[in-house]
Amino acid sequence: MHKGRRSRQAQRHWQQAAHMLGTIAPGIVWIVFFLVLPSAYLISVSFMTNGPYGLPQMPLTLQAFSQLLGFGFLGWSPGNLYTVLRSLWQTLIATGFVIALAYPVAYYISTQPAGRRPLMLLFVVVPSWTNQVIRAFGWMNLLAPDTPLSNLAGALGLVPDQMGLFPSNFAVVLGLTYNFLPFMVLPLYAAFEKMDPEIVEAARDLYATPVGVFRHAVLPQTLPGLMAGTVLVSIPAFGQYVIPQLLGGGKSMMLGNLVARQFAEASNWPLGAAGALIMILATLGGLLVLRRLGRRLGGGKEVVL
């Protein structure tokens, strides 16, 4: 090679490329090696056959997915399918509750003097910084038998006497709502902050009913925040592991528990991986929504949690 003829500019280009690799590569390579590669491996496991000790084997099949739909070697049983549907259902209800709680809260914060808002947001967020096991444990204490809440529910005939409110589907939905409320309040608050109050004012002056004001003046303006919040709440709620495990009994299992069980007691890695693949697909779908929202909202600025 004509080393001597290499121009200074080419050398600078080379240096710059090395600098770029040196700064970007370590972090990205780390994430690729310790997260992208493992997820790719997990996805490939979902297409393998279940071996004698639960470990994946060749040949490739769709066995795990048919098991997820309930087809086992003993014929069709709905257990797994119920778990998937229950996860969807509970996520849906909890997201609905979160929206109902977050809208008034986000609006109320946005009407307060600017100096107080950060502190109010902090009050909403701080509980979610504590460990989620401890938070679920707190609910276990509140909903246990012979506590004021359970006695009240018993007196109203909602639960049999002497029974607690947990474990139950109710407790799981409550726990999910509690856990993910801040994830909805923050994006909604951001939307309310940007909202043009004059449009709401105009709707009022035109004698719109409160429902009409909300539907035609508030909702369109806060829709991006609502959608971002829905993604941030529903995707992680769908894959929750701790809350159903602690607040729901065996009858309130969600997809995350089904997946985890296949890697522990039940020992069926391909089935667990198939369940995980569903969650990965849901996550990627949520990411796409967030990216598109980000582009539409912030003019190229990314939506960061």
Binding site: P26, I134, G286
Partner: protein, 269 residues
């Protein structure tokens, strides 16, 4: 008139939601001071569960494991994430938008999928090569992976706020790369780096699921200890250790809020 009624209703709702948010934490704190071992009534104030904490070797051990894990992973992640964030900033004119996918992935992936994929990966690598034995080492690796993106995003967003002319000025003044890094970039990023470190630390201390699936038999952390205690049947000591962890989070939140308050209205550098 109608408006004021709406405001009053909203304020009442706000306090209700606050109560909803803090009641589960409050009950844990309250019963950690209970003098008898029951959950249905509060019999009297006592510190006996805190005393027995100190003498519980398993809890002290779990505490040290949590601390080691959080400190080591946060230090490594802060360095690696800052370098990554700086690279993303320097070469943002190149079409590197797809990189953001790698950065978002650890943030949004459900932690159960995250924990399971790392666990199955570590187990397979361990079976094949004998490396990556489940324990504090694999936990540190797993934690760094979810901390790096947060640090990188924090560093990146701080750098983007900066006036790009300043960066060119350092070049015009013939600053060597290390001088630029030491006298210009690091001071610019200082507050972002401090908050990145604390964020990583909190993420690590708060994590349960990922730790649970990548842990080995001897690397129990506090959340894992609390989890297995709940599964086995609770002792009031769990209330006490949970209260200490809640107190730590609230202290950190207060400090970070105070620092933000104390900083003069953001000076655009």
């Amino acid at each position: 008139m109608k408006r004021r009624r709406l405001q009053r209703g909203l304020r009442a709702f706000w306090y209700l939601v606050l109560f909803f948010l803090y009641a589960p934490l409050g009950i844990v704190v309250l019963f950690s001071f209970n003098s008898v071992n029951t959950y249905s009534r509060f019999a009297g104030f006592s510190l006996r569960w805190y005393e027995s904490l100190i003498h519980n070797e398993a809890i002290v051990n779990a505490f040290y494991n949590s601390l080691t894990l959080a400190v080591v992973s946060s230090c490594i992640a802060t360095v690696m994430g800052t370098v990554l964030g700086y690279g993303m900033y320097r070469y943002r004119h190149l079409k590197l938008g797809w990189l953001i996918w790698f950065i978002y992935l650890p943030i949004v992936m459900p932690d159960i999928v995250y924990g399971i994929s790392e666990m199955s990966f570590f187990v397979s690598v361990h079976d094949a090569t004998g490396l990556l034995n489940p324990g504090i080492g694999t936990m540190i690796i797993a934690h760094i992976t979810f901390q790096v993106p947060f640090v990188a995003l924090l560093a990146y967003s701080r750098l983007v706020q900066m006036d790009p002319m300043l960066f060119e000025a350092t070049q015009d003044l013939y600053a060597k790369p290390w001088q630029r890094a030491w006298y210009f970039i690091l001071p610019t990023l200082r507050s972002a780096l401090i908050s990145a470190f604390f964020l990583s630390f909190t993420l690590s201390i708060d994590d349960f699921v990922i730790s649970f699936f990548t842990a080995g038999p001897s690397s129990t952390t506090l959340p894992i200890f609390i989890w297995s205690a709940i599964k086995k049947g609770v002792t009031p000591e769990i209330n006490a250790i949970s209260t200490l962890m809640i107190a730590a989070v609230f202290t950190a939140a207060t400090i970070s809020y105070a620092i933000q308050r104390a900083r003069p209205a953001r000076v655009e550098s």
